[in-house]
Every structure is written in structure tokens, then in C-alpha cells.
Amino acid sequence: MQIQQALQELITKMADDELVIGHRNSEWTGLGPVMEEDIAFSSMAQDKIGHALAFYRLLQEHFGGTDPDQFAFLRNAADFKCCHFVEMPIGSYEFSLMRHFLFDHAETVRYQALALSKFAPFQHLAGKAKGELKYHTLHADAWIIQLCTAGKDSRERMQSALDNSFQLAGGIFEPGPAEELLIAEEIYPGEAALYKQWLSHISPVIEKAGLVLPEMTAPVYGGRTGKHTPYLQQLLNEMGEVFRLDPEATW
């Protein structure tokens, strides 16, 4: 595999993660536990979709890719490179919050790596997202600690949300194809390195919250090679429903 192709794979998987979790989190709009949280969570979901758009634009501008809207709305599940974690239905609020916490810290370490990348457009993109991500993790950390210190029932629910999410979260760090090419060119440090950084980001919060971090025994892989849960196609059908009525329409 050529380096250009490895780079496209990397961008696609990062973009697809953002788009799919952005869509999932937006499913809470109007249903959030309180109005203030509803607005905050919806707003962050929009940020994710903005991040996806920025990545799709990179594909278009630097690799002759198709229009971002077409790329986002017209592909089938097998062409998506997102991890299973982001595909899972929103479930209970504690699951969605835990996913938000685990994913956004992973996103943060990813963007920190992009800020140092030899591929210059990554640096620009990481610079733009920095403030947003700072808020996203601040929000996630505050909720995790708040709910874990709000009594026995609350803490137990958060612990089971963590137990149910952890192996799925491991799937964020499924190694990409020809990753060593990107590592050698200092474009991307590779998933194993990011996984370690991620642990060091989440551990202090987990500890402060009094949660027990599970062992990463069986990370859920497959998404990066186009193997997905049935939930993804379902999501894509719904997400692209209006777009597919008339893909050429101008808005």
C-alpha cells in the first residue's frame, strides 16, 4: 500500500467516527435529561459533524475525493471505516455519557498527534478543533465525576456503563492498514501509541470518580476494515433519507 492510500484510510476512519458519533449523539436532541444538558450535548454533536466535514474536505481537496455530502450520505455501511463503538444505539443516558467521555478523550489524543503531524493540513485542522475538544472533555469529566459521586445507585450505573463500553472503546484503536508507513513519515504516531496516551488521559478521571477500570481483554475490532454491526446501516438509511430523495439538490 502506498503512503497516499494509507493517509486516505486514516482520514476516512477519523471522519467516519466523527460523523457517526455526531449523528448518534444528536439523537438525544429534545430528549436530554434537562434542558441545559440537551443543548450542550446537541451542540457538541454538531461540533463532531463539523470535524467530519473538515476531514471529508481534506479528502476532496488533497486526494481528488468526491463532494463531502455525497461521500457522507451515499456510501453503504461496508464502505464506512468507523469503529463499532460509535455505531451502537444511544441506549441509556449513562451509556451515551460514558461513550462521550471515552471517545472524546481518544479524539483529543488523536488531534494532539495531528497537531504534530508532518502532513501540514492536519496541523491546521487540529488547531481549529482544540478549543472545542477542551470543552467536550471538560463537560464529559464533570458529568462522570458528578454522577459517580451522587450515591450508590448512580455510581453502580456508571460502573456498568464503563464495563459495557470499555472493549468497544478499544476498537477506536484498531490498527489501520500500512500504519507503519505513516509512522515512518511522522504523519501519525500509530494506534498503539495513542492508546497509551488515552489511558493516561482517562485514568485520573476514572480514579477521581471512584470507578474501576476494566482490563482491555477483547477490543472490538472490524470497523476499520468495513465490517460493522447492523446498527450502522440502519443509521445510514435514516441519516441519508432526505439527501437521497434528490442527491443533486442545492440547499
Binding site: E36, E37, I39, A40, Y135, A142, Q146, A150, G151
Partner: protein, 122 residues
Amino acid sequence: MNDSLDPRVNRLRLDKNDGSFKVEEGENWNVFEVFHQEKRGAHHEHVGCVHAPDANLALIFAKEQFGRRKKCVNLWVVRSADILAFDLDDEDMFANNPDKTYRDASGFKVMEKINKFIAHTK
């Protein structure tokens, strides 16, 4: 007998009437007033309020409620209950203000002088 379906009421276990009742920290949400600062050094201006379990989350909520459209560099939150205010009945203390025009700074016609100075230096 409590037959409410509202979890906020049910968790109070009102029918378990043994006289002891404890509100856990963070269980009772407060209203926080939000103050918005448009640029560094400018006044923080009151823009509204949020409902939150503590000050930390109030600040986090305030960011999306009040800090995502207009330019914003900083926010303050203050628990509404911590604000000391005059009673509405005390409004009469301020009643004669409009009569005391000698306290208005508008009597000083400085803008004219400033404009004249600017025109002069150009």
C-alpha cells in the same frame, strides 16, 4: 399516600414518614445567574440563568446556553440564592432619583470639547 409517577417526587419517598429526611449533596439543583464577558477587561454582563447541580456544571451549561453565539471570552456563574437584593417594597428609596438632576453627569458637555480636540489634531 403518594401515587406520583414523577421520579423527582418518588425518590423523596414521602410515604415513608419516619421524620428523618436527608437531601444529598447535588440532589437538589440550584439556579445560577450567568454573566457574560465580551472581551478582556470589559464588564461581565448578566445574560440569564441556568439550572445545575453545582457551580462547576452551571459553568459548563452556561458555556453552551450563553457563550456560543455572540463573541465571548469569559463567563461567571453565581448561585442565585447567594445574591443579596433589596426587597421590592424598598423601591421607594429610589423614587426621587429623577428629581435629582444635579447628580446627572450628562451636564458636562465634554464630547464637544473632545471632538474639537480631535478635529484640531488631525
